[in-house]
Amino acid sequence: MREFYDALVFDKECVAFGKTLGYKKVFFDEIAYCEPRAERDIKITRGKINFVRGGELSLNQAIVRKKGVDVLLDPIGQRKEFDTAVGQIAKDHNIAIAISLRSIIDARASQRPKLLANVRSLIGICKKMKNDIIIVSGAKDIYGMRAPNDLAAIGSLFGLSEAQSLWAVSENPRALLEGLP
């Protein structure tokens, strides 16, 4: 049977609640999250899975070039902030690309169509460059969490096949966990 993982939550309560939703493990203590505004703000913590939130194209380029980054989170914005060059560097440095459900839910109704279009474009590039894609909830409380199959369904909405979507919530997060010292 497939084992599911939610690779990013911001509340300890979510860890226990995740088990009731059907996750094998919800990452909380294992992660180090960083939300830089510029290249100099990127902080890497040893012995943890380093999630770095993306932003503009130049920042995304800086993040994928930085040593120690494990996951580039949400390299999306109002414009297309992720191109094949960034995808190739991420692939070379073994950096996964993550999409959080929270960024989509929190987007204003007027901005959501553009955001969804950009996520679709991002997934298209990731598929072309063969980047590892991870879908996370990014929940701040238990109400931000979703069942594993629902997270996977979001992947298929953006152009991933059913198998790829399930892989994005099971095998790719597990590979991150196995990479820990």
Binding site: L21, Y143, D150, I154, L157
Partner: protein, 110 residues
């Protein structure tokens, strides 16, 4: 008029959902939130294509049943996952099961 043979009819799926929240909601509030979320995500045409219908909701157990075609089940699931709140309170829909008949779905609601 000759009806469609079963092989040409769309196959339906019934989604049994449960509302996870710290308070209980009425049927109308749940129905309105679900319709609002789905129309904003998929649009009226998308919902028509999915043959979506709100079948029932039990206020005691906070469980309900939705219907759609088996082709569009992933789209409906994704759109339901984007539902952030019901009646301005934080909540989410947890799809407990997907069944092929309404009878089996009703058994799971009780």
């Amino acid at each position: 008029m000759k009806p469609y043979p079963p092989t040409l009819k769309e196959k339906k799926r019934y989604l049994v959902f449960e509302i996870v929240s710290d308070r209980k909601f009425g049927k109308e509030a749940v129905k309105q939130s679900i319709w609002a979320s789905l129309t904003s995500s998929l649009g009226s045409m998308g919902l028509a294509d999915a043959e979506f219908a709100f079948i029932d909701f039990d206020e005691k157990t906070q469980k309900g049943i939705l219907r759609c075609t088996n082709r569009k089940i992933e789209n409906i699931r994704a759109a339901l996952a984007l539902l952030p709140e019901i009646d301005k309170y934080k909540a989410f829909l947890y799809i407990r099961a997907v069944t092929g008949s309404v009878k089996k779905a009703e058994l799971k609601v009780i």
